[in-house]
Amino acid sequence: MGAVIEHDFRVFLKYRFTLAGLISMNLADLLIMAVVYTRMVSFNYFEFLAPGIVAMGLFAAAFVIGREVNMETRRGYNLYLLSLPLRRSEFVFGRMVAGGIRGLVYGIPLLILAMVILRFPSALEVALMLFAMYLLGMGITGLAISLAVLLRSFEKFTTARSLLYLLLIFCSSVFYPIAVLQQVLRGPLIFIAEVNPLTTVSDLLRGYLMGTPSVTLWSWAQLLAFSGLFILAGSGLYIIAIQRSA
């Protein structure tokens, strides 16, 4: 399993252009957009957005694995994977763990930046934030893999990925407090916003770094449920996809 994690991590570092684009976007959002909006709203938007950017960056970085799995499935690379001296469960779990680590590695510098902007919390709080980020990374990896193996056509996959990106990022508390979304969204959209793991993690990080909104067990339960569900779904679908390609 260690070899799978190492392999996926090395592949991640090859996406340097994608990562450079992603980090530019995240930093531009925080250091330019948030600075200007702070002058236009009634609270310190720069501080509000810093934890949201951590969650959003981590989400995008963890989602990259979906593109790899989709490509492997289409190109028959799964046949090679089946020949490896590994149990399928080990292989699939290794990829989930690697996805979580990839997200975490991308998110840690942004978290440090958020701590510099806001405050340095206790060691326990830092550990809890890292754990929340890791759970989000693994859950997103599961979601990305589920999508990648369900939609084998590259066009369908990229379209679905973009739709999901838009919905999860804009229907979340990354950019605005959930109370504002409750005023403007109705029906399924507000439901998505409330159960969205990006909302949960953004607010958990805000809770630890800013003290508001307060961290509750319910938030942790929501995050665990999301990650558990998509780790299981992603693993199951991935094992079926690998077996079918044999």
């Binding site: 252009f17 530019s24 976007m25 930093l27 330019i32 973009s162 804009f170």
Partner: protein, 229 residues
């Protein structure tokens, strides 16, 4: 997808943010007009990627064999790129003008001219960069950085009046600032939050002339002797 992106931005981000903004009235329409021009930008910039694909597919040899001058080729592509972006966005623009109740033909004409001029210039910029940067990776990096910064360092999302000094100064060199403000001015948005429209026209004309001229010169030079490969 770009339509969907524009609709989600206007329908969710725009509505949510307009509840937070206290510094100006009617931020929602300000933002929606900015999103329309931003989407035009992202569609127009796509021509550069096509130039790389054409080089990969060996299509450039066919273009070189056509009985037209290189200058006509570049200018034709810029005009077509602008027109294509314009046609692509026209249902959203038409819907938006209807929602705003803008029926005055002169205002509509001024708004559409601002948008087309901008898309024409951006296509010229995209062609200039694509033929000027030999490697696809360099083009990707430049485009990624442009995407990240050109929008945020402009008045597409927020007026220059609220930008801190250095950001406001940089946005003053950004054609997106003038294209969005000119579009808003044509649609009667509050002029207190906009750049001077005459200056905006001047900047846009300089922008589209410069980049289309540079595109012609660089494209013409790089096409000869196979140096584009």
């Amino acid at each position: 997808m770009r339509w969907f992106f524009a609709i989600v931005q206007i329908g969710i981000f725009g509505f949510a943010f307009s509840r937070l903004i206290i510094a100006m009235p009617d931020y929602y329409h300000y933002y929606a007009m900015g999103v329309i021009v931003m989407t035009m930008y992202s569609v127009a910039i796509f021509t550069g990627y096509e130039i790389y694909d054409e080089a990969d597919d060996g299509y450039v040899e066919y273009l070189l064999s056509l009985p037209i001058t290189r200058r006509e080729l570049v200018l034709g592509r810029s005009l077509a790129g602008g027109l294509r972006s314009f046609i692509f966005m026209s249902p959203i623009i038409a819907g938006f003008l209807l929602l705003l109740g803008v029926f005055d033909p002169w205002k509509v004409l001024a708004a559409l001219t601002a948008l087309y001029g901008f898309a024409f210039g951006i296509t010229g910029l995209s062609i200039t960069l694509a033929v000027g940067l030999k490697s696809g990776s360099s083009f990707d990096i430049v485009m990624g950085a442009l995407d990240a910064f050109i929008v945020r360092l402009s008045s597409a999302l927020y007026p220059q009046a609220f930008m801190p000094g250095p950001i406001a100064a940089l946005s003053g060199f950004n054609p997106l600032t003038y294209a969005t403000d000119l579009f808003r001015w044509s649609l009667n948005y509050d002029v207190r939050y906009l750049a001077n429209p005459y200056f905006a026209v001047l900047v846009l004309v300089i922008f589209l002339t410069t980049f289309n001229f540079a595109g012609v010169v660089i494209y013409e030079r790089n096409l000869e002797g196979g140096t584009w490969k």
